[in-house]
């Protein structure tokens, strides 16, 4: 059965590109654009990996990550965090909160694909 990736991102064209490259690689891709309801969405159908943007409407990626790590069901869920802000403090914040991998935009498709494959192994 194909592994599931949930892309939480509010830029529709980025969602479309990521969805396309992951789908072509055999992943089942789900998407979600609203930060406020993201944790409910994850709890309802837990994916094998989350690609999480930092700046989201309603609730930031950092807050979503914190909630994930505080919940026993999702505490070990791999999270690849994407941000347009590459400052050290954002990276440190993500690491403190327990991110699995941190990637700054603009990323290459190959980088994303490689990371997803590395983070979710059979």
């Amino acid at each position: 059965m194909a592994k599931r990736v949930l892309v939480i991102e509010d830029e529709p064209n980025i969602i479309e590109a990521i969805s396309f490259i992951l789908s072509r690689d055999g992943w089942t891709v789900h998407t979600h654009s609203d930060g406020e309801t993201a944790n409910e969405r994850i709890t309802a159908t837990p994916p094998d990996l989350i690609i999480l943007d930092v700046m989201l409407p309603g609730k930031s990626g950092f807050d979503i990550l914190r909630d994930l790590r505080e919940s026993p069901e999702t505490t070990d869920l791999p999270v690849l965090m994407l941000t347009a802000r590459g400052q050290t403090r954002d990276r440190e914040m993500a690491e403190r909160l327990g991110v699995t991998q941190f990637m700054t935009k603009p990323f290459s498709n190959a980088e994303v694909l490689e990371s997803v494959r590395a983070l979710v192994r059979d």
Binding site: N13, I14, A17, F20, R24, M55
Partner: protein, 428 residues
Amino acid sequence: MVQRQLTGSRIRERRVDLGIRQTDLANAVGISASYLNLIEHNRRRIAGKLLNDLARAMQVDPSALTEGAETALLDQLRASAARDRASGAEVSRTEDFAGRFIGWASLVVRQDKRIDELEARVKVLTDRLAHDPQLATSLHEVISSVTSIRSAASILVSDDDIDRDWERRFHRNIYEDSQRLAEASRALVSYLDAPSEEGTASLSPQEEVETYLDAQGFHLPYLEGDGAPQRAPMLRSKAASALLADYRTRYLADAETMPLKEFSAAAIEVGHDPALLAGRFGVPLAAAMRRLATLPIESGHPAFGLVICDAAGAITLQRQVSGFGLPRAAAACPLWPLFRAFSQPMQPIRRDVQLPVDGGGRFRCYAIAAPAGAASFDAPATMEAVMLVRSVAPSGGPADPVGTSCRICPRSGCRARREPSILNEDAV
């Protein structure tokens, strides 16, 4: 000491301004031209009768030759040395340096000030880059567009058997994102090209207000008339304009309760005693002190300094008076009556203070700490201390020894010292 050395430079300056030959001035006061030359080059001490004679011959008050700017210059030079102790600046010879090379000394001070301004500007720009929400949004927009374009373009280039629909969709996405990128870039450029606040970005809002008020002599004629007061001028930064508006509100209230014409006459009549003026006009002492500091000097009033601070000791407004250095960056001398007032709220304090300079540096200070603003049952009073400063003759009566700030104060054995002095290693 500096007073004698710099006094020489002042004598020379005044003489040259008046177009008097050295020989003629020397003859007028009964000394040789060569001796006057030594005085003018700060090689001979001058005081007492000879100083008075020279002052009289040049139609100037003796104090104008001995007090004033040089004290501030020396304080600034010492502060410059304190910033960079590793430079090995000969602090003990500051007076000598300033006395003999006043132009170079002024240059050092000006450049140090410029460094301060530039450092402040760098900080402002750094803060702006790191925290400005508008800039962050613009950059986010640019990076998001670039990310999207890069991903879509990469798919189109590397995927040979892409479905026709997907191909069209990614072409459309690239087109949309390129438009978005163009707009975001334009917005970013126009934001970065916005008129800079050159010259004021380096000033704090408080400094901006004080610079403006200083240029007006702290007297605002447009708030004194009977007609409707004009609006406060806009300063460059919004924060400074807001502070100025607060100052203006208080100024207006003081001007209404102490009209200029009546207050000016009464001030001269009572020798500028703030307590007598407060009683006569039925206003709080602090208000009378503030009002005295706004009287125009050209109307025969002495120059007053004014310092206002909050209960945390932060100086919220200051008007400089010649010879009494008010530190901007460093903490002020805790022995000032201004701070003492907080230990005796509502109790007026009048003290003569002596700064550590020869031949001058004596000031009369009036201070009081009192609640600022309206009283409330629901919140503690916000206290504020006000100190009015006036230069007095060097001789006569005891005076409290005070300084400007610890780093440039040479006093030994000071019970209030908070850090060593760069002027006197024994001053601990």
